[in-house]
Amino acid sequence: MQDTTADPADAGWTTGEPLADTRAPEGPVAERWERRKFTAKLVNPANRRARTVIVVGTGLAGGAAGATLAEQGYHVVQFCYQDSPRRAHSIAAQGGINAAKNYRNDGDSVRRLFQDTVKGGDFRSRESNVHRLAEVSTQIIDQCVAQGVPFAREYGGLLDTRSFGGVQVSRTFYARGQTGQQLLLGAYQALSRQIAAGRVEMHERTEMLDLLVVDGRARGIVARDLVTGSIDTYLADAVVLATGGYGNVFHLSTNAKNSNATAIWRAHRRGALFANPCFTQIHPTCIPRAGDHQSKLTLMSESLRNDGRIWVPRTAGDHRPPQEIPEDERDYYLERAYPAFGNLVPRDIASRAAKNVCDEGRGVGPGGQGVYLDFTDAIERLGRAAVEQKYGNLFEMYERITDESPYETPMRIYPAIHYTMGGLWVDYDLQTTVPGLFAIGEANFSDHGANRLGASALMQGLADGYFILPSTLGDYLATLPRDLTPRSELGPDHPVVREVVGEVTNRLHALLVNPGDRSPESFQKQLGEVLWEHCGMARDAAGLRRALSEIPRLREEFWNRIRVPGSGEALNQSLEKAHRVSDYLELAELMCRDALHREESCGGHFRTESQTEGGEAERDDSRFQYVAAWEFTGEGKPPVLHREELEFQDVLPSRRSYA
């Protein structure tokens, strides 16, 4: 591969050794997972209790992993910053979970799900991983049904499915508009059972602030008890990060307010490579912002696009109420531009199309930042009762927030940051470049490439947590060297422990004593505006360079002007927030760096310099068919790029076309 990027010194990064996924087995893609499971070493059941695994996060991936590892007999020590493991943000996923069950007899198969996901990810994901995901998907549904997850059912008592953005088969299982909630409660209940049995030691309201790497292996974490402020070390034989994505770096996103990047960012600083940070997903159907006060956006499930029709007025500046705009003066722009998929095109396409019509001045609602999602036809066709049955709770939620009834007036929607495909680089075993440190769920980069399909996040989180990690982690634990430093020697006086605890304490202290005048929220907001402007739905070199000069300045201002009231020895939400923002200020720079270096458009990453005449994203497979894994070299220092080349044997790269 030739390096045609502009002078790396100017770009602010250097190139390092290429990276290879050494764990992925050879052979036909459909046989690799079986092969890997068979070659993986096993830990004798009697020895499992002596192995401690730390799991950070209790969402779908973390909750499922914690419960399963404990069932297998490992001693699990688990953490969440929330007051209960049940509150992890997976709970807010609405639409559904994909699985290649083919219950509809509509031509679905593992192979089709695999192909759809690789294609949906715009050929920036690994075939091996994606195929494994598709294989495991069917087991997930079995597992969840056995746990009592109340999926929607037909009158015959069998499971109902629906279709979801980006695919033409009906493979999405759902529980009204609360699929994430129900799946998470299933995992949480399994986890609770293990907590009550003493097999999982659960630390709620405890936030991981750093990683302990001893002799090149992840051996524990440093965490702060958010109630007492106590900073403690927890030791283990392996550490699993299931801490979700970093969408909150944009300030306004559909993530939970406290979702944060600290765990993965600190792991990155300790040696784990960070892959494809610029691959962020913008969700097309969020409720538009009502005002400056808002600090959080609310998503409306994408399933709404199954029955709702998206439109804007044909002419710019048409401010008539939607009901008064006649049919021939409406532009159903997705149906017009993409007749085969219509309103069901993938998220990135739908989002960008919405942005484009708004940029043309045809946006609706306050500030012109919205498009209509209209259910008039659906209500006529199916009847109000059927629409209510399907979307009632979403409509209610919309009305509560906006004071408008979607039964009477079209919804207004606008894209917002929703998911991050990027994350810690992991190999086929879901292990990062730090041995013993694993990353699962949204926290890793693996399966969605440059764009995630709807209803695939839940699938991936549960696949990683229930089935993949529990198979691969055992191999790591079974092959640990005998001369591994015993946990008993990793006391407070061990140099690594002392150094890391010291760094954490100093960082928090610096935040607390700074005589500044600005709140953490104000910095997050300002950073978010920079990113949304320059590293949001559409990106270009000039904007990204501007962001790259603004972010370090903002970071400096942060450390000069941050004000954190209160003490570190008690519940202090300002301190929590300030610390998270300090990490966003570093991560944001890497995102922009990655976006600048990737001079192509793919999936959620749209570079305005790289588009077709029709305004569609143009990939550049000759130069960028790789995973960009970044190595941390020091604060403000140029990171090192390691490329993992992607090979496609089964699904040959083609231009994504949904027309």
């Binding site: 069932e71 400056d292 089935f467 300002q526």
Partner: protein, 281 residues
């Protein structure tokens, strides 16, 4: 509004706009409200607490109640005071983290979570009392933050179906009548916020426990553990120091997810049935 950092310029420009960012930020003047807030402040679990009065203005009717508290906190930080601690996370009404008692009602005057309560339900000039959930099983940690770990322990005592990963039969092996599936779902909607406990004059967790018992007990998958589940969960509920049910119904009125009051009677029936069957089946 009380942005403490007006000199940074860019923070004032609001909407996340793209290239064509000529869209005006929503006006912040007309219809804005001024409020008097009386909020429970308590520095720690063992510290005494008191209602403290704050005045706040520039509150838009489109704000959520938590946006309003955020605004107050920004103002407090600017003044050098400690912000009010309150639990919150998803802000979509589903995680169950948020919850305060507003003017005597858990989650306030609307049947929803605190994060989904909007200020349009209040009037300019109102005085609003904000207090933490009150129950001995929910000790106050700080200000409006309480410890609801007792609810997790109730779930741990039996609020699950034992199905170790990998042991599940094919999903269609057992058909579940739609009515049962819908009934299970209606009860599985509980978000564990604790409003039922906060609203109950007896600090009872009956509605919370009943929601999980009914969710799992109506499903065929939950049948093998049916008796043990309800006995153990009720035991755990009693051990945690929750009160009993006197059929007041305040729990169901406060529930943001509409868990039916009837589910308590369902749980009673399940419990008595389990007792008749001689315990843990």
């Amino acid at each position: 509004m009380n942005a403490p950092h007006t000199d940074t310029g860019s923070t004032a420009a609001a909407a996340p706009v793209g290239a064509a960012g000529e869209a005006p930020a929503p006006a912040a003047a007309d219809g804005d409200m001024a409020l008097t807030l009386r909020i429970w402040r308590q520095a720690g679990p063992e510290e005494p607490g008191a209602m403290t009065t704050y005045r706040i203005s520039g509150i838009s009717p489109d704000m959520s109640f938590l946006d309003m508290l955020d605004t107050l906190n920004e103002q407090l930080i600017a003044e050098g005071d400690e912000p009010v601690a309150f639990d919150h996370d998803c802000r979509e009404g589903i995680c169950g983290a948020c919850g305060v008692v507003i003017n005597g009602d858990a989650h306030g005057p609307q049947p929803t979570t605190t994060c989904q309560l909007h200020m349009r339900h209040f009037d300019d000039g109102d005085t609003i009392d904000v207090e933490p959930w009150r129950a001995s099983a929910f000790p106050v940690i700080r200000d409006l933050v309480v410890d609801r770990g007792s609810l997790d322990r109730i779930i741990g005592s039996g609020g699950y179906i034992t199905a170790p990963t990998g042991s599940a039969p094919e999903a269609h092996a057992t058909a579940v009548p739609k009515a049962a599936a819908d009934d299970a779902f209606a009860h599985a909607e509980c978000i564990g916020c604790g409003a039922c406990v906060a609203a109950c004059p007896n600090g009872a967790a009956m509605l919370f426990t009943a929601a999980k018992v009914v969710h799992l007990n109506v499903l065929p998958q939950g049948a093998p553990e049916r008796e043990g589940r309800v006995l153990d969960m009720v035991d755990a509920m009693d051990e945690e120091g929750f009160g009993g049910c006197t059929q007041v119904g305040a729990c169901a009125t406060a529930c943001p997810k509409g868990i039916p009051f009837q589910s308590i009677a369902d749980m009673n029936r399940e419990y008595l049935r389990a007792v008749r069957k001689g315990g843990r089946g």
